[in-house]
């Protein structure tokens, strides 16, 4: 075998045979790449019989014979016949047979008797890599993933001095205020740390701590700790079900992940899960990862945010999100393909600090904390969530867990300027506490967008304006979500996939560090969230990113005008909050979102904050 021209690659003889006239584009692409790399390529005309191809190949004595043909039931027999002819003619003593085309998959190639099969998801480079001796699973599968630090390189320096100064003043005030106070949520977080430390080594201490923990719980959670009665709509995960999860990674090394989806991983596209069932969560996560997702987001049930205390053991919940317990988290983590970023949300309820503890103990890479959204859009008492939120941010800093600060109160109708002011205050507090927050603006057709007309003509300008204003204020990572596309999706799965994909592409084009998407049937899920819908959404997102590529998305001049309006709005809100001098009071009094907007201070946990002794 010769060495190819100058690149040190063994020069191969390749015969390319299109089996019909309209299916030779792929082969022509492969020919171009192979010739560029110094291989000797013969492209046969498309009108030869199988026997003639065999005879021509015999004359060439190639190392590879690559055929291309769209597959159907009838055609498959012809391909099988071709394989037989090559075998009987002695071509397979030397040559590898490769089939490509629409509908081709490795299992079909195997059944037909080819050495490899490349479908429409396979890039040309994979075929070239195969010719050059790379193992097939490596050439068609995704590269091994390393976990990136989404906050790396960001300084958290304010670029807008006026806003930065106000944020710092307010954040310091809220930290000082919170530092003097405590809550049952903070106590339980402390107890959980001690309990998990004592669980195996000191059963007596564990039992005592657990009793103490139980005394700080409420409602059905308390009843479970005292009587063992399951919380409504839950049932324990069986050992058999847990086994399903544990067996998921049994063959993880053998997984062939379509390389064509790698762009999602490269661009840090996250998928949220939360079927209520850890088994399904693990399966959905791996499905998403197999189709390119860089990370997955654990979505907990809303009732869990309103109850004092978290359960123990592994549970399935028949509605809304997956129960937060250390066992559930560890089970899911055990089933998820390594190398993926895993976010456990802790942003909105009465168990915020403890959730950060569990996230850390279970090995999560990221968490999610926002005092303002949790207080105004998710039902937690502002005073309580401020105390708990500060503690959660301290814990996140201690555990080196970056977290996003989400602004989903926009979905209630809170204007972006107010939501962003709240997000910036909390993020500033996070930085002051030593943490690494990521800004999470809502990328959607928010009520404000509809009412003000920001989204009347397109969905680009308002969202781009959000990115512009945030990146002009502070040098911090921006991770739109969560998930993108709210109120633009419908029950139509195709439409929802398109909207999700376009929003994701827009976010990434506008400089986002990451983006979170949901399955296309999630926005209007009247039933189970299905695997095909997940794949649809992920593939649609790849298609959108491929479509725009480096071409970019061009907003109109409106984007700059809206960005300026947003900056002024943020500034006005911050001045108001700073003038009030009491962040918690501002939450109650509506400076960061009021009843007119659709935001109501939550009542869960009201009256539970106490001064530290």
């Amino acid at each position: 075998m010769e060495r190819a021209r100058s690149n040190g690659i063994t020069r191969r003889k390749v015969v390319l045979a299109p089996l019909d006239p309209v299916h030779d584009v792929g082969l022509k692409l492969i020919r171009r790449k192979l010739v560029e790399r110094g291989h000797q390529v013969t492209l046969l005309p498309p009108d030869l019989s199988m026997e003639e191809i065999v005879a021509r190949a015999k004359a060439e004595d190639p190392d590879f014979i690559m055929i291309s043909r769209a597959l159907s039931y009838g055609i498959s027999e012809l391909l099988a016949k071709f394989v037989d002819l090559c075998d009987a003619a002695g071509l397979r003593e030397k040559a590898k047979l490769v089939a490509g085309g629409l509908s081709m998959k490795p299992v079909i190639a195997q059944e037909l008797g080819f050495d490899a099969g490349f479908g429409p998801d396979t890039p040309v480079e994979a075929a070239v890599a195969y010719v050059e001796g790379q193992e097939l699973d490596r050439s068609t599968g995704s590269k091994r993933r390393e976990k990136p630090d989404l906050t790396a390189g960001f300084t958290y320096r304010f670029l807008d001095g006026e806003i930065g100064s106000l944020c710092t003043t307010i954040a310091q005030q809220l930290i000082d205020w919170a530092n003097k106070r405590t809550s049952p949520g903070i106590e339980r977080a402390r107890l959980r740390v001690e309990m998990e430390s004592a669980r195996d080594s000191n059963p007596e201490l564990f039992a005592r701590l657990r009793d103490e923990y139980a005394s700080l719980t409420s409602g059905e959670v308390k009843e479970w700790y005292l009587t063992g009665k399951p919380v409504s709509h839950t049932r324990p995960i069986t050992e058999k079900e847990a086994g399903y999860i544990r067996s998921l990674l049994k063959n993880a090394d053998e997984l062939v992940i379509p390389r064509s989806q790698d762009v999602l991983s490269d661009r840090n596209v996250f998928v949220q899960y939360g079927t209520g069932c850890p088994v399904m969560d693990a399966y959905h996560s791996n499905l998403s990862i197999a189709w390119g997702a860089r990370g997955v987001v654990h979505f907990d049930p809303s009732w869990g945010a309103r109850s004092e205390g978290l359960l123990e053991q592994a549970w399935s919940h028949e509605q809304d999100g997956t129960v937060l317990t250390l066992d559930n988290l560890r089970l899911i983590k055990d089933g998820i393909i390594p190398g993926v970023l895993w976010q456990v949300r802790a942003h909105r309820g009465l168990n915020t600090p403890e959730t950060v503890v569990l996230a850390h103990l279970a090995g999560a890479d990221l968490t999610k904390i926002n005092i303002v959204y949790g207080s105004l859009g998710a039902g937690s008492d502002p005073e309580r969530l401020t105390v708990d939120g500060v503690e959660a941010m301290k814990l996140a800093a201690k555990y080196n867990l970056p977290y996003d600060v989400v602004t989903n109160e926009e979905l209630c109708g809170v204007p972006a300027a107010k939501a962003f002011a709240g997000m910036l205050i909390v993020a500033t507090a996070g930085v002051l506490l030593g943490g690494r927050p990521l800004l999470q603006p809502l990328f959607a057709n928010s009520p404000e967008g509809m009412i003000t007309g920001y989204t009347e003509h397109n969905f680009i300008d308002f969202n781009v304006a959000k990115m512009k204003v945030l990146s002009s204020i502070i040098d911090a990572p921006i991770w739109p979500g969560a998930p993108v596309g709210f109120l633009t999706q419908t029950q139509d799965r195709c439409q929802s996939s398109v909207m999700t994909a376009l929003h994701a592409a827009l976010a990434l084009d506008s400089g986002a560090m990451a983006v979170t998407i949901a399955s296309s049937d999630e926005a209007y899920a009247g039933g189970p969230i299905t695997a095909p819908a997940r794949v649809d959404t992920l593939k649609a997102t790849v298609a959108a990113l491929r479509f725009f590529g480096e071409g970019g998305i061009r907003p109109t001049a409106e984007a700059d005008r809206i960005a300026e309006e947003l900056r002024q709005g943020i500034l006005d809100v911050l001045k108001q909050v700073a003038a009030r001098g009491d962040f918690v009071a501002s939450l109650y009094e509506g400076h960061l979102g009021d009843k007119e907007d659709g935001a109501y201070p939550g009542r869960s946990g009201k009256g539970t904050v106490t001064l530290k002794h």
């Binding site: 026997e51 003639e52 065999v54 005879a55 015999k58 597959l71 159907s72 039931y73 498959s76 027999e77 099988a80 016949k81 394989v83 037989d84 002819l85 075998d87 009987a88 003619a89 002695g90 397979r92 003593e93 047979l97 998959k105 490795p106 299992v107 079909i108 190639a109 195997q110 059944e111 037909l112 008797g113 080819f114 050495d115 490899a116 099969g117 097939l136 699973d137 049994k250 063959n251 053998e254």
Partner: protein
């Protein structure tokens, strides 16, 4: 070591069903089994039609050669894993011994060369079961004997199926003619070596001219694939009266089954006795019997298939009446006849 191949005349003709019955038979007899396949088999649903497929269960102690990920995913545990050094489209092929009975998906070597490498791992005292794929038959030349599956998926016309079976029976029954030592070294001493097969128009004429030009010719050895039309072309061009004592020897009957319309061999076999030419093969594989399957997937809308059947009794009855070789429909008649073929083989 006895190698039994399971080939089909088309996809969905019942290879897997036959294989599954044969595995059961040998498991009950406590024969040591070595199981592999030249395609992909044992999956839940067919990759092309989406219809359910028979599953392959292996007994404890059976050695299976399949792509490593599939052995690992099997619910039969596998021990003593050995890398055969052969790769298929689904990964590296390993052999493993089943530590418990269980289901397995077979993805084995696709080529004759790779199959030979994998079969080197079969113990001498084992019965090797070689599962086919589609209508692929070339690697089956390695097998000592063959069970052929055909049926409505090949053609709903029982008369055509019967004619094909008769043609295959005739081909598989061609006499083995030994060539003299040194025959492979080239033409000479009454031997004409013809390499490259007879499967392209013009090759038949070329063979005829070479035969016609040879004096004292006794044997023509044709290596490679043989298409009946091309062979007919040779027969038409030959000066037949001068070759009445000549034997034409092909490599293996399977070489005659790969190219062209199988039914054209009827014409070849009708001409040969008239001209007195002797046709034989250097090596052969015994055809144990034919399994008949009335099932055929039928397309009902774009890309969607439903399972349909021709009337089983009539279909089998017609074929049995019109052929001489052993035939059975396992689902209709049970596995008794199949077992009798295997008993005859073992005895």
């Amino acid at each position: 070591m006895e190698v039994i191949g399971f080939a089909g005349t088309a996809k969905n003709t019942g290879k897997t069903t036959t294989l599954v019955e044969v595995i059961k038979y040998f498991a009950e007899k406590h024969n040591r089994l070595f199981i592999t396949g030249i395609g992909y088999d044992g999956e839940d649903f067919d990759n092309l039609t989406g219809l359910p497929k028979p599953r392959v269960f292996v007994p404890e102690g059976a050695i299976v050669a399949s792509a490593l990920p599939l052995l690992k995913a099997s619910d039969a545990g596998f021990a003593d894993l050995k890398d055969t050094g052969v790769r298929c489209a689904l990964g590296r092929i390993f052999t493993g011994t089943a530590t418990s009975p269980g289901r397995v998906v077979l993805a084995g070597p696709a080529s004759t060369r790779d199959l030979a490498s994998v079969l080197a791992f079969a113990p001498e005292d084992s019965v090797v079961l070689l599962d086919g794929a589609f209508s692929r038959i070339s690697p089956m030349a390695i097998a000592d004997c063959l069970i052929l599956a055909t049926g409505a998926a090949r053609s709903r016309d029982s008369h055509r199926i019967a004619r094909e079976i008769n043609a295959m029976d005739r081909i598989m029954g061609l006499p083995v003619i030994e060539l003299l030592p040194g025959a492979d070294e080239g033409s000479g001493d009454g031997l004409l070596q013809v390499s490259g097969g007879l499967f392209l128009p013009g090759q038949g004429q070329e063979l005829a001219w070479r035969l016609n030009g040879s004096v004292k010719l006794q044997t023509a050895h044709v290596t490679g694939i043989v298409n009946p039309e091309v062979f007919l072309e040779a027969l038409e061009e030959m000066n037949l009266n001068e070759h009445r004592e000549v034997s034409v020897v092909f490599d293996h009957p399977i070489m005659l089954l790969l190219s062209g319309d199988l039914l054209r061999w009827e014409e070849v076999f009708s001409i040969i006795p008239e001209v007195g030419l002797t046709v034989g093969v250097r090596a052969t594989t015994t055809l144990l019997g034919i399994t008949i399957n009335p099932y055929t997937p039928t397309e009902s809308g774009a890309g969607k298939y439903i399972a349909t059947y021709v009337p089983p009794e009539t279909f089998l009855g017609d074929i049995t009446r019109l052929t001489k070789i052993r035939c059975t429909d396992i689902m209709l008649e049970g596995p008794g006849k199949l077992h009798s073929w295997l008993e005859r083989l073992l005895n």
